[in-house]
Subunit: 278 residues, 3 copies
């Protein structure tokens, strides 16, 4: 599929990718030069192989075009992202799972180390991998409402990878992070603000995007080179860690998700989701 | 003494250990399945070789029985634990001191890496090694009153080991930790709460235990395996550090406590304690 | 120049150093035994080779005399220190620049690892390298007013070295530090207090010095040896990092400042400064 990409322009590619399904919407704000990347995989922006691949590619391309910055948000009304697609882990085809996990690692390293400013306009629920996307941006604006954000992996019987944990600790501090990770806590907007998991609240998505744009524009008079190298100096340790451990981790995760009790837990969780939908 | 253990049941062992002195009391709350481990070495729960050995053994055994969680507290009315027994360091027999320090290291690694939930109901003074026990649990409830908690080693002319310092930094953050460690600060309950050194206050020991039980029960619906592995992922770095440095550290501490001025300081401190008792 | 030092007493040396220019004023408070080191290089205490060399030497000598502690402040009315002297980096003579950067590294390692208590009475603007001096002390009192403090390197198109970043993170926590470093934020006294970048405010320089002295006196009854070793245990990791990386870093900085766009940025900045002066 990557080979095919050469025959398309960027916009065509995005439109045509993944058998015609539109997984991401990219728009450029002509006034500000800021790009809005909206995840658009119904119903809950589950991060499957195709969405991650497209997200990674888009981040790299927008960055290459030297745009002013990116707002990451969701095209869905109540969900930012539900996190990793459980169907990639349930009864996995190991060949696809290997590609999946590598793409997840690559997407995170691209996002976390992105040179241009990137802020998350979190317009709905943002558990687990959804929270990872948010904390890997530089700035977070959370739309007020009934939804929550957090690394709730333990509630699903799974374990947040080390590179989910470390940026989480960096964002809210070790003590609060440990408590939240053990409990799999999900935080309502006010709680998330108080604990420092998000930087601002907004009353709706438009305001959230506006606040993210304001954040990005705060760098208008800052040297890009100096900013990027400072960001790298702060974040490269975690990225290097994953680069060095990626195969070890892949093998560990492969074994872990094939454990009978993990598959049983995922099965039970999927049944719960099905019942909710009915 | 460890060889003898094989001939006793756990409860017998605990009752008979250390020449008939009861150093720990262990009770199981039949309603919750939570075990209460109470340190009971009068007058101040000084952590000598026998108490530490018993604490370590009890933690391992209770964990092996797959119980729901542990509340660590004290049977004494006004003291949680006064910390390391100064008599183990004053005019030390080096053979016993070697066993002592290794047991201290082992006890800490067991406590800090414990798989099941453990919370401290701190029902009195908790300086130095007493504070270490508390910050190595997952959650801390401090009974309100005139007593204090903190790593006050510098006040005694000694130095908190690296593995006392690191969990302290993790609990209250680097800046507050540095200031408190240099000063040997002891915090009253309200101060300890404000600085994040404890998580909650309680009006008496019963309420403290109740709040600890509530903390432990918050994991009732969380996968044990996922919780344990997440905890290990957060804490294994400090445990690995000590595992790798334990002999180096032992030798360092052996030399340090044999310094003339350190012995002189300990002597002066013991004289002060004697005068207080008269 | 270092060879000449042997023919002078300390006070003579300080008076005569650097062709008769007085770069530092050192006074001992006879009541408290605390030394006040005041930077006195008009107009803004730019840290050039000579001032840094003198600061380093003075710190070592005062410490050698086993004095009770040091207050670091400025003799200028509105500036603590404007940071690294841009003229050391603009169109640099590489031989001098090499000596300059090594002296900067040495001065920082001396200051950050100083055994005796040292507090900063920040009586004016304290950007970039000025902020580094302040956060490398143990305690900070900021005189209230219109001035600011912060690591604003990105605003000048340069990058704060790793050993500026790490103590900054330790002081205010990772999240706030990342945001401030990317933006090159400068904080007014109240903001600096709220974010934890300074420990206290004062209404004027005299009060700031008094509060610093009070901080130093809080160690009157603390074992010096225990205090020093505890401080080292907290700070040695960052010092060791620089010791191991100093030549690598020197070479990196040498190359960086010789980049055309960096020199261009410095030129533009110098022009701005000139216009301000007219």
């Amino acid at each position: 599929m990557l080979a095919l990409r050469r025959f398309f322009t960027k916009q065509q590619f995005i439109r045509n990718y993944a058998s015609g399904k539109k997984l991401l919407e990219i728009a450029e704000d002509k006034n500000t030069g800021i790009h809005i990347i909206s995840m658009a995989r119904s119903p809950v922006n589950s991060l499957n192989l195709e969405l991650l691949e497209e997200l990674k590619t888009s981040l790299i391309e927008v960055q290459k075009n030297n745009c002013k910055g990116i707002v990451l948000t969701s095209s869905l009304p109540t969900v930012f992202s539900a996190g990793l697609d459980i169907m990639e882990m349930y009864k996995p085809d190991i060949k696809r799972f290997t590609a999946y996990w590598r793409t997840l690692q690559d997407t995170w390293m691209t996002l976390y180390g992105l040179e241009i400013p990137i802020a998350a306009a979190i317009n709905g629920a943002s558990p687990a991998g959804g929270c990872l996307l948010a904390i890997s941006c530089e700035y977070r604006v959370f739309v007020d409402g009934e939804h929550t954000i957090g690394l709730n992996e333990t509630q699903l019987g799974i374990i947040a990878p080390q590179w989910f944990i470390d940026p989480f600790v960096n964002t809210i501090g070790y003590r609060q992070a440990e408590l939240a990770l053990l409990r799999g806590s999900l935080f309502r907007p006010n709680e998330a603000l108080n604990i420092g998991l998000v930087d601002e609240l907004a009353s709706d998505k438009a305001e959230a995007i506006q606040k993210c744009q304001k954040y990005i524009s705060s760098y208008d008079r800052i040297s890009k080179q100096a900013r990027n190298m400072t960001k790298l100096r702060l974040r490269e340790k975690l990225i290097s860690w994953l680069q060095e451990h990626r195969e070890i981790e892949l093998n560990y995760v492969k074994q872990f998700i094939q454990l009978a009790n993990v598959q049983k837990g995922l099965h039970a969780y999927i049944e719960t989701l099905k019942q909710k939908q009915n």
